[in-house]
Assembly symmetry: C2
Homo-oligomer: 89 residues x 2
DNA sequence: ACATATTGTTGTATATTTACAACAATATTT
DNA sequence: AAATATTGTTGTAAATATACAACAATATGT
């Protein structure tokens, strides 16, 4: 019964929307794959709250990517520049 | 006001105790470093509940290790065997 | 052996995440 | 343009994580 004043814990950034769209699936479908309510995906994508570590691991499994690639304490760089920097190395 | 029937979400495994002891610090001190109540560390070490992703990231920062090295959906292998396998590659 | 620090246990309160429903807004398809 | 699917919004309930206190149990240091 607490509807106001959320997100006292530090806000995290994520690439869920991007990763989901790259794979051409809706929130509903993603939600089904990780066994969570489809509205929960919306909350996460909008950054209205942070996931549990469990949920983060489930996303990690579905996307086949490390948690740190999906979530970050710092704003996400565009994938394009990440790729560019990586190939420069 | 819910004291019974916890942990419906899948149990995670972790190496917090090990990593903390390797660094020779108490729960109290670890708790202070990551800005959490010292009893919370106890709950995590005992696996009585899983952390938020936020808390996992904080531990990751303090230990300077990826989240996946600290937490896992599978029981943790001894570090010794992880090291051995790594050097064999 | 004693003092002190660390860890475990129980109990309660609060915060945050997740579920779910209903419906509005927007986009996509036909 | 109408039908359908997807996303956003608001409201409420339930589950899970975190804080905190008090005290027992265990370990550690002297």
């Amino acid at each position: 019964m607490y509807y106001i004043c959320r997100m006292k814990s530090k806000k995290l950034y994520n690439r869920i929307t991007l990763l989901r769209q790259e794979r051409g699936i809706s929130r509903k479908e993603l939600a089904e794959r990780i066994g969570v309510n489809f509205q929960t995906i919306g909350y996460l994508e909008r950054g209205e709250y942070n996931p549990s570590l469990n949920l983060a691991f489930n996303l990690s499994e579905v996307f086949e990517l490390p948690v740190e690639f999906i979530f970050s304490t710092e704003p996400m760089k565009p994938l394009s520049s990440e790729l560019y920097n990586k190939s420069k190395k």
